[in-house]
């Protein structure tokens, strides 16, 4: 896998096409595994797509007593293995983003796995392939770095000053999963 998911929350228009696409995906039995949520419901109508963050140190997998949630070589955190999942729901409590959900009929957990069967062959995940406003993109690393640099330039053009808490918005190499 040479591509990465790139989310830009401010581009989200709240159309929920990503959710629909996710529901359409095979094996998902009409349940979406990504969510569109409001940034601040009282303040604005701005929504953002909530996908699995594919954590490097995934809380859901760490708290799984059966090691059912596994990490691929590319770092994708998969949904629970059916053979191993014991239905304890620890992952649903552990995840800070609320991505793992529990199917009470099947007694199994399900979560976004970046459509691993597609993305391992560099095909965009369902949600990224349908997003009309490019809030969710499946792009090359170089393109991502370009976008981030453009973002920093725009920040500087808009006259924002970097602070200790958000310096990566000005020099993207300072921060991120791409440099330890």
């Amino acid at each position: 896998m040479n591509k990465i998911m790139y989310l830009e929350f401010e581009r989200c228009i709240g159309c929920r096409a990503c959710q629909a696409a996710c529901r359409e995906c095979g094996d998902h039995d009409a349940k979406e595994r990504n969510y569109v949520e409001y940034v601040d419901f009282m303040e604005s109508r701005q929504t953002y797509p909530m996908l699995c963050m594919q954590c490097k140190d995934p809380a859901c997998a760490r708290v799984c007593p059966a090691n059912a949630i596994q990490i691929t070589e590319e770092g994708v955190v998969l949904s629970a293995m059916e053979e191993k999942c014991i239905g304890c729901r620890n992952c649903t409590f552990g995840c800070p983003f609320g991505i793992p959900k529990f199917d009470f009929e099947e007694n199994k957990m399900y979560k976004c796995d970046m459509c691993y069967d597609r993305s391992k062959h560099d095909i965009a995940p369902m949600c990224a392939s349908v997003c009309p406003s490019d809030a969710i993109r499946f792009i090359d690393y170089d393109e991502m770095m370009q976008l981030r640099r453009k973002r920093t330039q725009m920040n500087l053009v808009e006259g924002k000053k970097p602070q200790e808490g958000n310096k990566w918005e000005y020099v993207p190499e300072f921060f991120g999963v791409y440099s330890d």
Binding site: M1, N2, K3, I4, Q54, K56, D57, P58, A61, R62, N67, I69, Q70, I71, T72, E73, E74, G75, V76, L78, M81, D140, Y141, D142, V177, Y178, D180
Partner: protein, 180 residues
Amino acid sequence: MVDEKNNQNQRQNQRKADDDMINLVDNLNRSEDLRFNRRAFLKSAVGASLTLGIATLPFSIKAMMDDREEDSEKVEIGKLSELPKGESLEFHYPTDSEPALLVHTKNGELKAYNNKCTHLQCPVFYEKKEEVLLCPCHRGFFNVDSGQPMAGPPQRELPKILLEVKGDVVYAVGREVRHG
């Protein structure tokens, strides 16, 4: 440069250090779970048992070759006239390193056994009064007529040497290691 980028992309969500406190998700690697599955365990178990079985093959072959009939050669032991009843004579058969005992019992029978005790290889001698073969080290008794252990630590019989008397001369013509 491009290779470096690619490597970065390949391992985008993987740790880059080997520190114990960083490798907290080592047990969640999908590749390892696929590699060390039940089938792999069965494979290695079967392979190990086959290996062990084949490793013991040379010993089995050696044992089978040792079981074959020894080439019986005629070896002169001594003269019967020099061995009155109730006396014994030491000789070596089939090789010089294997001591043996020729016994002329009170009944007038000739018996010969290798006199290395089957317990811990002390020399067994003929006890005239009791008509037994006695091992002095740990008080092991063997029957003169059959060479079978009667009392004490030895559990196996003494190898029996087959005799042949021609005129006045006693010959050893063969040996039965396991008999009776």
